[in-house]
Amino acid sequence: MTRTARILLPLAATALLVTAWHVAATRVGSTLLFPPPGSVVLGAVETAAGGRLFGHIVASLQRFAIGYLGGIAIGVPLGLLLGLSVHARSAFDPIIQVLRPISPIAWFPLFTLWFGIGELPAIAIVFTAAVYPVILTTTSAVREVDPLYLKVARTFGDSRAGTVARIILPASLPGIAVGLRIAVGTSWVFIVAGEMLGVTNGLGYLIIDARNSLRTDLVLVAIVIIGALGLGIDRALRLAEARVRRHWGGAA
């Protein structure tokens, strides 16, 4: 595919979608039930003008960053432990496999009881969504370290701790980077749900607030922004991941 095609095709598809949206909305004829693209743009301009929209975005990104980084801070060491120790793996893997398929939303009632109404339940939901993919990919990255590297470590008489720090950790970094990117996608989805209760700003709050005041155009503003930010975060992590892989010698 040529470079121009790569740029033009998604633009054309987006234009087609927006046009179809506009036509359909005009047919429905109710800005409340189905706001056309034009009124969504006007709504965006309106909220952006007061600086409120920017405040919502910053609030969401902050909560997301804390929950996601927390998930890494807990998930990577735990994944390392499970990858290194057969005993730890056989003890904890079943527990993780049972907890993992539970939607983070299911924990919401308990989170609000434990952490109160406010920031923390939203952060905890993002954390819950991020931590499992990080644990699992880190574990498998550690287990897939080339056994030859470990033989080299042994022939040079490296200690267990030295081998972990000098060989296993750097060798599994490309695999961990993949996990970090997967986790960013899964946990960003849940920031909205986390903000639908108990907070007074953020994009999830914006959706609920807009619904309560029957501003469906603003609901769509929030939805589009959530999607765009999700795409942006994913792209940033893809770049970081590619850098790690390049620096690591193309997973030689």
């Binding site: 033989k151 042994r154 022939t155 008489g157 490296d158 060989i167 750097p170 060798a171 690591w248 030689a252």
Partner: protein
């Protein structure tokens, strides 16, 4: 001159369990002494136990009976005296060439400045001084193996174990690698135990060739290679020795096959 001990195999036998529950005799009663500064090649067809023997010398495998000694120290773990160079290099892709060579020194707690100087000196010795800041994936197979040899030599091991180190290198570069290894060895006279199935490689490099045969893996014959270095691959004595070795291996091969059929 140097007081290095060489390496000694003392009635080493190694059995492996098989899936059918029978024990496979990979190495049978091998006694072998490699003197300090000697270059010994283990040669034989696959299954003759040469790689198992090297793995035992490297501390990666434990003998079922018998023992391996470097001086008075029995080898029970890797990292106790011998350093192994592997066929697939085992270079760390996230480290530069120099950092790779520094690895063993880092493990031994050598301070950074000295580490760096020694690594660069070893890289110069294998002709890769200009590539110190490159990454392994930017180098050819032959260059990678030279880095891995430099990494091993940097820690000045009592014994250097080489497991078909040029097996993954193409034929033309293999000859060059053999010449370089010989030059390096002549400069330092290190004790080398070298596994190969390439008879020419063994004749070119070895002070002594240990011929091994399978079923069970044991030493068939030991041959001192006395002609002067650097050896000429096309010379008459080279050919004569080659024919003799191939004949020995061939005879032993038919013999064990007959045994097997009965």
């Amino acid at each position: 001159m140097s007081a290095r001990p060489g390496i000694r195999f003392d009635s080493v036998t190694k059995l492996f369990g098989t899936s059918s529950g029978q024990a496979h005799r990979a190495v049978h009663d091998v006694t072998l002494s490699v003197a300090d500064g000697e270059f010994v090649c283990l040669v034989g067809p696959s299954g003759c136990g040469k790689s198992t023997l090297l793995a035992i010398a490297g501390g990666f495998e434990q003998p079922t009976s018998g023992r391996v000694l470097i001086g008075e120290t029995e080898i029970t773990d890797p990292g106790t005296g011998a350093v192994t160079v592997f066929q697939d290099y085992g270079l760390f892709p996230w480290r530069t060439v120099r950092d790779n060579v520094e690895y063993g020194l880092q493990v031994r707690g050598v301070p950074p400045a000295e580490r760096r100087a020694r690594a660069l000196a070893e890289l110069d010795a294998v002709g890769l001084g200009a590539f110190a800041e490159w990454h392994p994936h930017e180098l050819s197979g032959g260059m990678r193996q030279r880095v891995s040899i430099a990494r091993a030599l940097a820690v000045d091991p009592a014994v250097l174990l080489m497991d078909e180190p040029f097996g993954a290198v193409d034929a033309i570069n293999r000859a060059r690698m053999q010449e370089e290894l010989e030059r390096l060895w002549c400069e330092h006279e290190r004790t080398v135990l070298f596994v190969t199935h390439d008879v020419d490689e063994a004749i070119y490099l070895a002070d002594r060739i240990v011929l091994m045969t399978p079923g069970p893996g044991r030493i068939a014959e030991q041959i001192d290679v006395t002609f002067s270095r650097p050896r000429v691959r096309g010379s008459g004595e080279f050919f004569a020795l080659r024919s003799r070795i191939l004949e020995t291996l061939h005879l032993a091969g038919t013999e064990s096959r007959t045994e097997f059929e009965i």
